[in-house]
Amino acid sequence: MKTNTMGYKVRQYLLFAGVTTAVFVMVVIVPFIYGLYLTMTSWDGVSKSKPFVGIANYISAFADSGYWVSLGRTFIYSAIAVILVNAVAFILAYLVTSGIRGQNFFRAGFFIPNLIGGIVLGYVWKFVFNKALVSLGNAITSGNVKSLLATETGAIIALIIVSVWQYAGYMMLIYVAGFMSVPDEVIEAAKIDGCTGTQSIIHISIPLMTSSFVQCIFLSITRCFMVYDVNLSLTNGDPYGSSALAAMHVYNEAFVNKNYGTGQAEALILFIICAIIGGIQVYVGKKGEVQA
């Protein structure tokens, strides 16, 4: 059978990738392009007509101070959460690869928060913050302890705590894979040369685990930056909208305030930020490979 004719190629492509292409185009490509068009209309979500308004949505997106405040908040939240997630995950990974008894049990245990969706986790933690910890605080101080969720800074701190708790187990597994990829002989050789445990981690394990770090840091950046579920169930933006992160702001702008065009324009700004982060990831990843 001829395998280099056009007809053969077309048949093979449709057989192996036809459905994939159709689904992918209909779910990702078409909505993406259609979304660009929506940013230039003032659609209210109900009516059939979508009046063309040019760049008016971008102007109102740039003028929407609530959006920029939520974006700034998202940056601060993400920066702190990413650092803590990775620090905790790395320490956990180190502890559960140190050859301790029951380390598989611990690996499985720390991973549990990842099994459960953000909505349910948020409600569980809401109960913990509002009821359990308040009750614990009152028992210890015999005073009138307020919930962490009641204050503006407290709500963001609560979001960070939950995110660290939620993602650390997943990142831990990636770091575990990293630790296991460091050859034992190298560590042994270092030990013979007089390296202490800490020295061999800093000078041998960490440099050899560059790809794990790149993977974990960017995975946690994108997850934190786009967080929505936990934000919705844990704080729902309270108190007084002071804990709404960027993804929630975009959702509310479109589906609550019915400004679909402006919401889409604001979402597109999020996309540009994500694309820049993705670009940096590819660049850093390539650079790391060359060095290693």
Binding site: V27, L115, G263
Partner: protein, 288 residues
Amino acid sequence: MMENIENAAAARKRKIRNALVFLLLIVLFIAFIFPFIMVVINVFKVKADITANPLALIGSHGFTLENFPAAIKKMNFWNAFGNSVIITTLATIGTILLSALTAFLIVRNDWKVNKLLFVLMIASMVIPFQVLMIPLVSLYGGIFGILNHRLTLVFMHIGFSLSMATFMFHGAIHTNVPVSLEEAATIDGCTKWQTFWKVVFPILKPTIATVTIIDAMAFWNDYLLPSLVLGRKELYTLPIAAKVFYGTYSTDTGLVMASLLLAMLPILVLYMFLQRYIVEGITSGAVK
């Protein structure tokens, strides 16, 4: 002699260190499951006891199971559970089959169209869902009018997960499937289609397991997309049911505890049996 003493001292030091690490891990582990412990001890209490002391193991009104039947009925648990099972299963199977086939085509044929598809898929991975949700609702709701169908959600789940899955199968076929094996199958008279199912697909088992775990968990727990697609009560998945339930009964703490535990239970039970595979699957998926 000296060496023996030194070895004994080193061994003792290591023993102490291991004991300390073990202790530290126990403390961390308890801290990690503390929120779940809170749910479990409060789910067997009546509302008054939870309000009085959420930390007590048993309330003054004693042990009760009454929260469960009420929560099951009010959140329409079995219906939501069924929807979640159907949607997760279909979307996972669809993703695996389509992405494995596509990855095979892309790896083995150096055609321009394949490269274009693959580049588009990789690039699309940086698109946040928030950018697509408004046009999705507008297109599928306003223009096609096919929201409020479980299959529409399955279709979208597959569409969003294809890129990552194809990428993972691409790597697996590239490194783990020897071309010579496929050539042998071709000589024996297999078409490409038969070769894929009889030779390539079985070799991909570890990757299939990893993709299944990652995607099934994502589909099962997803809230935002299902909440936009499924607006009717009888179509709700578990996360939507939990959200709606909380919105209505948030002051009824006993019921809330039961609904949260019910929403978590299926995946926790599954994890008890499959935890080894899940942990190994994620770990091996991490090494590129």
